[in-house]
Structures are given as C-alpha cells and as structure tokens.
C-alpha cells in the first residue's frame, strides 16, 4: 500500500452531511399503547438466523473498511465505569477521546481530525470530564438512576439525574427496573421512564434495558417500545455489568422496534449497544446491522453509539494495518 498516492484522486462525490441537513428532533414520546405492545412478537430462531447470515451478506473491504472504522470511532461512547476511577484516569480517557487516532495515520488516510461520540462516566467523574473536554464539542454522558441495578429509591434516582445534569452531563444513561418487564407491568415501566425523561430536561436520555436480564427477545421488543413511548432519545442494550451484554440478536430486535416506532410516529430514536463489543469486526457487524435494518441515517452519532472501552484499541491497530500493510501492535497506539 502506498498511502501517499492512494488519495491523490480529487474528490468527485459531494460529502453526505446527513447529520446537518436532516437534524433529529427529540422524541417527545406518546401515550402508552398497550395493544401495540401486546401485539409485538419476536421469533428467536428466525432472528438468530438473520444475524448469522448478516455478516456473510455484507462485506466492507479496503478503503471502505477504513472509512467505516473511522466512523465507528466517531460513534464510540468511550467509557470508564470502574470503582477505582480517579480524576487522573478520566482526564487521560478524555485526552484519548479528543484524539483517538494517531495524527500520522489520519494524515495517511487523508482524513481531518476526528473525535469519539461521547465520554461516559459515573456522576462523580462528570465535572472532571466536562472540564477536560471543554471546547471540543464532545458531550459527557453520565450513567444514572442507581446504575447498574436501578434499585435505589425513586426519589434518589430522580435526584441523581438532576445532579448529573447540573454538573454538566449532556446525556444521561438511565437503567430501567427489570422487574416491570419480567412482570409485564408495562404501565409501571412507562411511568418510570417518563419520570426519568422529565428529570433529564434538556439532557438526552438513553434508556438501558439490561437485555441480558429480560429473559426473552419478545420482552426486549416490548420493553424497547415502551421506553420509546415514554420518550427515550436512545435505547441501549446493557449496562455492561449483566452476564450477557450486547448481542446481535438483541440489537436486531431493538433496531426493528426503532423502525416500527419511526414508521408509526415519525420520531427517530437512537440505538446504543454496550458491553462486549471489543473488535473492529464486531463494530462492522453492528454497523452493517444498522445500515441494513434502519438505513444510513442511523450511522451518525446522534442516532447510534457504541458503549465500549477496548474497541478503540483494536480499530486503531486495524487502521494502521490498512495504512502500512503490516499488522500492528497495541503499544504503538497511545492508551486512553
């Protein structure tokens, strides 16, 4: 490969600035429609079959692959959710968020600067992150509402949202009460998410369904719908702390729920798979799923995010391989 000459061909196609020309209005939610919820089905075997064939049906190679991987970086909610997080650790992560790819690699690829979609932390780290990202346009997301189990008192959970918003979090990742889904109490789920959404105010709300604890794909489909009816801006698979986190079948079900909701209401809701997505190949699979099921528009950071911590490292290595033709090493890329 000769990066110096590969990009000397002048651009002919106009850039597709989708996010700018077609902004997403916030999902206001709607009245709970229990008939719709009850009629929602998800056939596990068929869904698994679709997911199994998806990677084989679509293939992204060469320059297209590099571009898709760069886009994947722009979609990452770069995350640290550890008990031992400190301001120093968070500042290092934020530095990585601002400059996720080595400048020489970007130059070789003919790309300008890019940054990740957001930085995602616990409330105590919000202020540090906001300060570290000042002027970058990178939002800070806070996990909230008694993350990850969501079993603190409701008043505490609401207060937690408000406190994080006050501290500068532009996005709030809430967790739902799994028992409402497991007991089929859709009204309780709706009311809970509605209250969270009100507490978020101007901050965007991602509703974490913790799909690994919902038992069936049908529950995932129905919980997705209820969360959107209650006004979620994003629906998100997992906290990263459940025994099973983001899987393609769960993501397919949620993407289809988003499509149905959009068809019925005209509102676009975003999707965030989180937990366990750690390789460039994984990222491509998820992006293909989004492109196939929801279309190109759902590959922008206002409608799609990866919740991930180690994904970026693998993508960096793949990009260097693309540029140099040689497999890369982890230590060649600055850590976050």
């Amino acid at each position: 490969m000769k990066p110096a000459t590969r990009h000397s061909v002048p651009a002919t196609a106009a850039p597709v600035a989708l996010a700018l020309c077609d902004p997403v209005a916030r999902n206001p939610g709607m009245a709970l429609d229990l008939r719709w919820v009850a009629a929602t089905q998800a056939n596990t075997n068929a869904i698994e079959r679709r997911c199994a064939s998806l990677a084989g049906r679509r293939s992204v190679k060469k320059d297209a692959q590099a571009a898709w991987l760069l886009k994947a970086i722009a979609l990452i909610d770069l995350t640290t959710l550890s008990g031992d997080d400190t301001p120093g650790r968070v500042r290092r992560l934020c530095a990585k968020a601002r400059a996720p790819v080595r400048a020489d690699l970007l130059a070789a690829l003919g790309m300008g600067p890019i940054h990740v979609g957001a930085v995602c932390v616990y409330h105590e780290m919000v202020a540090t992150a906001v300060a570290a990202l000042a002027g970058t346009g990178i939002p800070v997301a806070a996990v909230s509402t008694g993350f990850p189990a969501g079993l603190s008192p409701m008043a505490t959970r609401l207060a937690e949202i408000e406190t994080s918003v006050a501290a500068g979090a532009a996005e709030i990742d809430i967790v739902i009460s799994r028992r409402h889904v497991l007991l089929g109490d859709w009204q309780a789920l709706y009311d809970e998410v509605r209250a969270f959404r009100a507490a978020c105010g101007a901050a965007h709300m991602k509703a974490i369904l913790a799909t690994g604890e919902l038992g069936t794909l049908r529950n995932v489909a129905r919980a997705s719908l209820v969360a959107m009816m209650a006004g979620a801006d994003f629906i998100k698979t997992s906290t990263g702390k459940e025994p099973v986190n983001a899987t393609l079948p769960v993501s397919l079900v949620m993407a289809r729920a988003i499509r149905d909701y959009h068809a019925a209401t005209g509102h676009r809701v975003g999707f965030k798979p989180a937990g366990g997505i750690s390789t460039a190949k994984d990222a491509l699979n998820w992006m293909v799923l989004m492109r196939e099921e929801l279309g190109r528009r759902w590959l922008e950071p206002d409608l799609f995010r990866f919740g991930a911590s180690s994904l970026l490292g693998d993508i960096e290595r793949q990009l260097e391989h693309h540029v140099t033709g040689h497999y890369s090493a982890k230590y060649r890329h600055p850590m976050g």
Partner: protein, 792 residues
C-alpha cells in the same frame, strides 16, 4: 473515492471474490471438456460441442461435449460392469470412499464455489455458505449410511445402474443429492448435469479417482435434453432419478411407463408462505428473503406465493417493500450481493413474459428499486399483489425473483388457498402460536413444511414433493429406499386367471334367487352407470352370476365419494381406524364358510385353499388394524435448535386394480393398508372373479365403514384401468392386474403425476408376509417433513 468521501457515504464498496484460480483451470483445458466414462475423461472425436457461459457477463467459460447415444451406451455399460463389484464391497469400504469425497469437496470448496457462481450466476455467498457445505454434508451423511447399511437395512440390495438427471439451479448440491445415496447403497450411476451448468460436475468427476471411486461407478455425461432422453430410454438403466421441471418429469413418466425402471421425480413448485397476524412480521419478511430471494428465486421449493392474513396484509407488504429496497442485485462474484444473475437470457425472458401478464389480470407489480448492472442477465426482485387465484402468476412456477401475494381470513381459508395448486413441494408457516402452526402444517399439501423458517435443508431430513411436484424422497433413511430393493429373486411371473368361455347351459352354480351384484360407491350399492352387466363364470365355464360392468362415470362417482370421505377418515386417530378394520374382520369371520364356497366356485381352487384365502384375509385385516396406530414417523437429527419431524401421512385417494388370482385376499391386501393409514380407496376387484368382492360389500355395510372410504367398482380391469389411472383426483394408483395394465397405469399416471405402483406382470404369494410388508406401508403413505425450530 477517498477515505474521507467513503466516511461520509458509508457505502459497502466492491468486495469481489477472486476467480482467477477457477478461470486459470478453465483456460488450461485444451479443447472441449470430455465425458467422464469408466473412470477417465474421454474426448469424442467429431462430437457436437456447446459453450457454457457466465450469465453475469455473457463470457464463454468452456466448451462442453454433447454426449450422443453411443456415449450413453458406453457409460451405461461401464456402470453395469462396475456395479457388481461395487455392490459386493463392504459398507465400510464404500463409506471410506464417500468420506473421501466429502473431504475433497471441503478441500476444494473455494474452487467449487467459484465455478458454481461463474457457471450459474448465483451469489458467491450462497455458493460458499450454502451449496458447497450442504453438498459435503450430504456425502458425510451417506458415508454413514453406507457404513450402517448391512446392519440397519437388512434385506435391502442396490437397484443397479441409476440414470440421474439434474438441473442447473444447484449444480453440485443436486449432484450430491443424487450420487451420495446411490453410491452408499452400492449402485453405479450415470449422471447428466444440466447443459447450462456442467462445470462443477466435471470438477467433481476429477475428484472421484482420488477419492477411490472405482472406474465406472460414477460416469458423468454432459449434454442437453437429447442426452437425458437417451439415458432415460436406455434399457440398461434400472432407475431414473430426475430433478427438474414438471413438464420433463411427466415425459420421463411416460417414456419409462411399463419398462420396469424405478423412477423418482423432484419437480417444480409454487410453495406457499402463510403469515398469520400473530407472526413476528419482520422475521417473516426475512423468511421470504431466505425463501424466494435465494438463488434468484430459481429454486424448486421457493416460497413464491405469499398468503398473509388480511388484517396485517398492508403492513406486511410495506415491510416487505422496505426490505426489498435493501436487496443488492449485481455481480454474483461480489460477496455483498443478495441476488445474482438469472441463469440464461431465455429464463429471464420467460420471467418477464409471465410478469407482463400481471397488469391485464388486475395485479399491481412492484419492482425493487435496486440498480441492475448494465450488462449481464438480471431481473429485479418483484412483488405482485391483487391477483386472483386464476391468474397464471398465482398458479405457474415462475422460477425467478417474483413473489405473488394473496390474503386470507381464517386458518381454514389459509389452508384452502395454500392447497389450491397442482404443486405440493414445500410450505412455510409463520405464527407465534404453536397450536395454530402445528395444526396447519399437516393439512398442507406439501412434502416439506417449515414453521417460522424457510429453506432449511439437511441430509438427514427427507425432501420431496406431493402432487405434481413429484414423488420419492431424498435425504434421511427414507431417501435410501429409493436406491434399494428387496433382496432375493424377482417375484414370480403372474399366471393370469382367465375368464372361461361360458357354457350355453346354465350351471348349478347360479343363485337360487337372481342376485344383482352392484358397485359400492359412497356407502351405497350403485347400479352401473352404463346399465350393463357381464357374465361371471367358473373355470369350467359354468355361469355363476353377473357383475356390474363399470365404466368411466362409475369411476368418476367412486373417486368423488372417496375424495369426500378421505379428510374425515384421515382425521380419525389410528385407534379408531383399527376398530373399523377389526370389525370388518369380525364380520368376515362370521361369514367365512360362505366366502370360502364363493372363492372355490370362482377359482376352482380346493375347499382347503379357499378356506385358507378367507383365513388369510382375516389375518391381513388384523395386520393392518395393528399397523393403524403404529405407523410412526421419525424425528430427525438436523443441525438446528429444534426438530425435523418426518411424518407419515396418508397419500389420499388410492385407486387399486386388485389381483385377479386372489379374489378376496387380493382385495383385502389393498384395502387394508389404504384404510389403516388414513386413505380412502376405489377398488377394482378381480375382473374375472369379482363376486367375492361384491359379497364383501355386505360385510362393509355392516362394519361401520364410513361412506366413501371404500368404493368398489367391478368390470373388466382393462376397461377400467385407464379411467382410474387417468383420473386427476386419484393420488395413487396400484396395479396388481395383468401385465399389460402396468404400462397403461404408469402412462396414464403421468397426467397428474400420481404415484403409481405396478406389478409388471409379476405376482406374490398373497398368503405370505410379502403381501403385507413395508412396500404396502410406503405406497399408502407420504413422508412429510415438518421443521420446527424453537427458541425462547
């Protein structure tokens, strides 16, 4: 395009499979490919040749030899020479060869996949992920079948030399479906690949030697329909196995009629996809993609007829169209293509011609907006709604990426619409209610049913059709029956019971009070439509009585009654059917002496022999009563999470020309399996000696046999055979009558491709177990494979 531009567009970009190795292999071929006969490729000097082309580009890939009658003869002779030795090998030795073939297919998977895509136009993804792995799997499964043959199929021996003719849609996979079971069971084969797609078969031929296939056990002849016709007509062939169009299948039925060659046919379809309102609609849409937009819709079992519940039809069509918009049509060598090239311009013209008729029939045609390549042979995925059932598009097999849609209101109406077809290959049912899905599945006229899925295949699960989709099964233990026969000498030649010339003086055998022997139709005794009778004589010429002389209208009435009764009879549990059979036996036993006298008078047999025939009849009724609740299906070990059930279902309406020589026992031997396994029947008893059968009507009348399940029409068999075998509502026709009738029946059966089972002028000892064995059970049932995947 720069990376920055790609970053904005996020298109897939080209992902071409490397075809250079395959193309180099083709380029290295000097002159036309030869014919694979006796273990080596033979060039035929002066032979006609033809080109095989890449439908995606029109480029000529190779030149192929047209095998003529002399080459067919040479191949059949080579097969004949090799077959005895191959059959004599241990199952384990054959298993090693089949195992080697499976491994070699895997080792050469990429070459074979690329050849398949080049020659056929199918997407490389499908060739790579579906065709080639399934072909290898077929050889693995049948390596096991060969290994276990001696232990698990005792008393079965190979048929001999099998002529196999396969289509262009799955060239290597269909080859595997044909060759693997044939070889496993010790047959030798002469296989003709389709003229559009011979390359993978020629490549396979090249692997046979390395796998240890003895020379002559596999012969591969390329050519067009003329080669196939010569193969089918060759007297040295014991069996023809064909996959292809219904029209050619019908021709093969006609040309093999009366020759004694075994025949299995896997033909066309118009398979329904039934979507209930409680289905996972998105998954059902994806099922249609898997079912119809697979191999460009050039699939015999393509789910090409959508039947969707009316209340969700509009939403479903919207979802379907949205999905169709994302289908990518184009260069089949691109790994990210969903729909490749149509195999040949003639096929594309045929598709376009059929679709052009839609508008005139009230249909709304919607083509997916996918951009088609500027050159090459392509057709857009298409949905047609609003057609009536009478439209040819709703009835004819299109064999292209075209879906037609209809709506239903109730499960019963869904079944009625699904079965409103001459075909009966496959069906899909989409519903989240297990009770609904499992209720509908066995009601469908389909050899394969997929519940909440589509196009699931495996070597362990039998595949094959009903109605005009053909007969015989491929895959599983069931498929092995189609490549084996009973061991032992051939059945004895029939010594026909001839009607004696009536003496002019009335004998003392005539009844004291004149009796009118009638037909038995729809539970009532019926006078012959033609208003005529014919004399029945004892062997010495004494007149014993007169029997109704049936005609085509009597057959019509009987079939109508049988059809009406069949569903209800089949719906009874086996235990209930057994009760009726026992009751018949009970009532027959009560009149045993009278029947023995009648048989003795009709046949001239000794009293002992006549009594033995009555006792044998009662015994046989017990046998089939016993089987009525024991003809279980099997559960198949298939590589899905779920089950594939091979159900034994009744054939439907069976017409039987009963043996002349055993007037009561022959009739009972046909009636027993038919009734026990849920069929209704139209029996034509011994034409020479029908009075035992007409006496038997009184037994039936007193045995609670539901009206129409058994119908008896008397008359000379030669007169009735063409009408019974030609009737389009008869599902199977059995013939144990005089030798010439076998050809008549097989020929007439071509009309609706009913299953025919004929004796070719041979008989069996009707008192022996050979007259109640598995042959009868198989002839009275169809295997229906129901795939039931699951997942919480």
């Amino acid at each position: 395009m720069t990376v920055a531009e790609e970053f904005d567009r996020l298109d897939y970009g080209p992902a071409p499979e490397d075809a250079s190795a395959a193309l180099a292999m083709l380029a290295a071929q000097q002159g036309p490919f030869g014919l694979f006969i006796g273990g080596r490729f033979r060039q035929v000097t002066g032979a006609e040749t033809f080109a095989t082309e890449n439908p995606a580009t029109g480029a000529v890939l190779a030149r192929i030899t047209q095998a003529g009658p002399a080459e067919v003869d040479a191949a059949v002779k080579a097969a004949r020479r090799a077959q005895k030795g191959w059959a004599a090998t241990r199952g384990h030795d054959r298993a090693r060869v089949l195992y080697a073939l499976a491994r070699l297919i895997q080792k050469h998977a990429r070459m074979l996949a690329v050849l398949e895509t080049l020659d056929n136009g199918k997407p490389i993804r499908e060739a790579r992920d579906i065709d080639i792995p399934l072909a290898a799997r077929h050889f693995y499964f049948h390596a096991g079948a060969a290994q276990l043959m001696e232990a698990e199929l005792p008393g079965r021996v190979p048929l001999g030399v099998c002529g196999q003719i396969i289509p262009w849609n799955f060239p290597l996979l269909m080859l595997a479906w044909k060759i693997a079971p044939a070889l496993a069971m010790g047959n030798a084969v002469v296989l003709k690949p389709a003229e559009f797609t011979p390359l993978s078969a020629l490549c396979f031929a090249g692997l046979c030697g390395q796998a240890g296939v003895p020379p002559g056990v596999v012969n591969i002849l390329t050519g067009d329909g003329r080669t196939g016709a010569a193969l089918a007509a060759h007297p040295g062939i014991d069996k023809i196995a064909f996959t292809g169009s219904t029209a050619v299948g019908r021709q093969l039925r006609e040309v093999t009629a009366g020759t004694g060659k075994a025949l299995t046919l896997e033909l066309g379809g118009k398979s329904p996809v039934i979507v209930f309102e409680d289905a996972d609609l998105d998954s059902a849409v994806e099922g249609i993609v898997d079912g119809l937009w697979f191999n460009q819709g050039e699939v015999c079992c393509a789910g090409s007829r959508l039947i969707v519940q009316e209340g969700v039809a509009e939403r479903f069509h919207d979802k379907l169209k949205a999905r169709m918009e994302t289908l990518r049509v184009g260069d089949p060598l691109d790994k990210a293509i969903d729909v490749g090239a149509i195999v040949d311009p003639s096929q594309r013209e045929r598709i376009a011609g059929l679709v052009a008729g839609a508008a005139g029939e009230g249909g709304t045609v919607w083509h997916a907006p996918a951009a088609l390549p500027e050159q090459g042979c392509y057709y857009s995925p298409t949905l047609i709604t609003g057609l009536g059932q009478s439209s040819p598009l709703m009835q004819e097999e299109i064999f292209g990426p075209v879906l037609v849609s209809a709506t239903f209101r109730t499960p019963a109406e869904a079944v009625a619409l699904a079965n409103d077809s001459r075909y009966g290959l496959a069906a899909s049912i989409w519903s989240e209610t297990i009770g609904v899905a499992l209720d509908v599945a066995p009601q469908l006229a389909a050899g394969v049913v997929w519940i909440n899925g589509a196009n699931m295949f495996d070597a362990a699960a039998p595949f094959g059709g009903l109605r005009e989709s053909g007969f015989g099964r491929e895959g599983g233990w069931e498929g092995l029956w189609a490549y084996t026969k009973h061991a032992g000498p051939p059945l004895p030649k029939l010594r026909p019971l001839k009607a004696a010339v009536a003496r002019s003086d009335p004998g003392d055998g005539i009844e004291a009070i004149d009796r009118t022997h009638k037909h038995f139709i729809g539970g009532r005794q019926a006078r012959p439509d033609g208003g005529t009778v014919y004399p029945i004589t004892a062997p010495d010429g004494r007149l014993i009585g007169e029997a109704a002389r049936g005609n085509r209208k009597d057959i019509r009435n009987a079939v109508e009654a049988a059809r009406k009764a069949q569903g209800g009879w089949a719906a009874r549990p086996g235990h209930g059917r057994a009760q009726i059979l026992y009751y018949i036996a009970e009532n027959l036993s009560a009149r045993a002496a009278a029947f023995a006298d009648r048989i003795a008078a009709l046949t001239g047999n000794t009293a002992d022999a006549a009594q033995a025939e009555v006792a044998g009849s009662i015994d046989r009724l017990f046998t089939w009563a016993a089987w009525a609740d024991k003809c279980d299906g099997r559960v198949k070990d298939v590589p899905i999470r779920g089950l594939a059930l091979a159900l034994r279902r009744p054939v439907g309406v069976i017409g039987a020309l009963c043996p002349e020589e055993a007037p009561l026992l022959g009739l009972i031997s046909c009636l027993g399996p038919a009734l026990a396994l849920g069929n209704s029947c139209v029996l034509v008893p011994s034409g020479v000696a029908p009075l035992a059968a007409t006496d038997f009507i009184q037994v039936l009348e007193t045995s609670d046999v539901p009206a129409g399940t058994v119908n008896i029409v008397t008359g000379p068999q030669a007169e009735l055979a063409p009408h019974l075998a030609g009737h389009m509502d008869v599902d199977a026709c059995w013939c144990f009558g005089a030798a010439p009738l076998s050809a008549v029946v097989e020929h007439a059966a071509a009309g609706n491709l009913k299953r025919s089972w004929v004796s070719h002028g041979r008989t069996r000892d009707w008192l022996s177990p050979a007259a109640e064995g598995a042959d009868f059970r198989d002839a009275a049932t169809e295997v229906q494979t129901v795939w039931v995947p699951w997942g919480a």
